[in-house]
């Protein structure tokens, strides 16, 4: 993970003066050029050479975001089932889900969908055999070894354990998602009333997510 992000940073420095878009995933980097490349294979070996060299381990700053989640039965469609399968109290599942500090590996799949690593082993749960067609935006789910938040209403096959009132994707803003690859995320439990309050505040644009800067 750090290797990918450090190399991404080195490439961003290398291409600082060109129109180039660099994106990363778990263990890969995508470089999109705005211009035509005469010989793609030369360029690939050039980048491979760059990778074999020492590249800077710049101190990057990342944020830890605290994201409210309501685990009330009203939202938690699959929490009972998870509790049964895992032979674990619902409150214990919620505690474990909130205890972990997750790493944002990258954003993909849907606009604003964070790929989070670090889910407690006892909470791993296979995706549902039949995806639901209409999940509510903000649905917090567990799919295999991952946990995440669905940014919009839509279909989804993960086990839903709650809902976050936070808007993960604001299309009308220059920075449409607050998080970036390398940031951390921690969930905290809110009541149904608090969820509604935050949701209303978020709609007016005045809600500010709690965060702190962390050194990596």
């Amino acid at each position: 993970m750090n290797d990918v992000l450090n190399f991404k940073k080195a490439l961003q420095n290398k291409y600082a003066k060109q129109k180039v878009y660099i994106n990363s995933a778990y263990c890969s980097i995508l470089i999109s050029y705005d211009t035509t490349i005469n010989n793609i294979y030369d360029r690939i070996s050039d980048i491979k050479r760059q990778y074999s060299k020492e590249f800077g381990h710049d101190k990057s700053t990342y944020n830890l975001w605290r994201i409210p989640v309501c685990y009330d039965d009203y939202f938690a469609l699959d929490l009972d089932e998870l509790s049964e399968v895992k032979k674990c109290d619902k409150s214990e599942i919620i505690r474990r889900h909130c205890e972990a500090v997750y790493t944002v590996y990258f954003i993909g799949f849907l606009p604003g969908f964070l790929y989070l690593g670090g889910l407690h082993k006892n909470l791993h749960m296979p995706r549902k055999a039949k995806p639901r067609l209409n999940l509510l935006g903000g649905a917090v789910g567990i799919g295999g070894q991952q946990t995440g938040i669905y940014p919009h209403d839509g279909p989804g096959g993960w086990n839903i354990i709650g809902n976050s009132p936070v808007d993960l994707f604001k299309a009308d803003q220059d920075k449409p998602c607050f998080a970036k690859a390398g940031d951390r995320v921690q969930f905290y439990k809110v009541t149904l009333e608090e969820h509604q309050k935050i949701k209303a505040l978020e709609a007016t644009g005045f809600y500010k997510l709690e965060s702190e800067v962390i050194d990596d």
Partner: protein, 284 residues
Amino acid sequence: MIKVLKTGLYSSIQDLGRPEFQIYGVPVSGVMDAYSAKMANILLGNNATDAVLEMTMTGAVLQFKANTLLSISGANLNPKLNDSAIRMHTVISANTDDILTFGQTTKGLRSYLAVAGGFQTKVIMGSRSMCRSVTAQTTLKLNDELKIVEYNPYETGKNASVKFNNDHFESSRIDVFEGPEFDALNHDQKEKLLNSEFSISKENNRMAYQLEQVLENKLEPIITSSVLPGTVQLTPSGKLIILMRDAQTTGGYPRILQLKETALNVLSQKYTGDNLKFNLIPYQ
């Protein structure tokens, strides 16, 4: 302003998309056939990045509420201005209340209408491209009013047109590079992939084109990685999926080929039942 009297099958405002927002999981989007769209823009002296109207298979009916110049490129949807046929790939002047009609395609799939100065619809994340889950609207709606700039040309009667290369519609050759997982294929699979003719299934849209024929394989899924328009994915059931401009930004299927940018434009003019053959650009 231009008023939409009929939307056509699938019409949307597009420019060159928003590649810099892939880091937020946002599809690149933008015109499917960048060659034709740029042609329409360049004829008018517009910037290549100006927004155009992309129409698919069946065109729209539009009423001008301002004077402007227009040009049409890409698929021929038999355009008419006030009931008289007009030429493609040239500059035409349109006046307030003129009605521009498009019909069925006779050649190609996607047609592009450019107006002087480009369509002035809302910019979201640096682009006017309509895209599901990014912009409020995915396609044109009846009675939409599309903003344009008023343009009164000093001289009219320009008669020049450019010759459009018909290979763009007729060629079945799709230029590709090896994808990151190309070498996970065995010799026979590579042979079959590069030497067979494939046809486009009915599952084809702005997100992806699926091919009819299957390529049997036992490849493992990959760890979720970046994909982009032109990436060819191979599913466990052997389906070949060519990602197009509105594709999601990451995927877990092996990426066996990557289309050259120009091949994406060629493919965008093909539809259900059309044939194609991959042409690998060799490693030198």
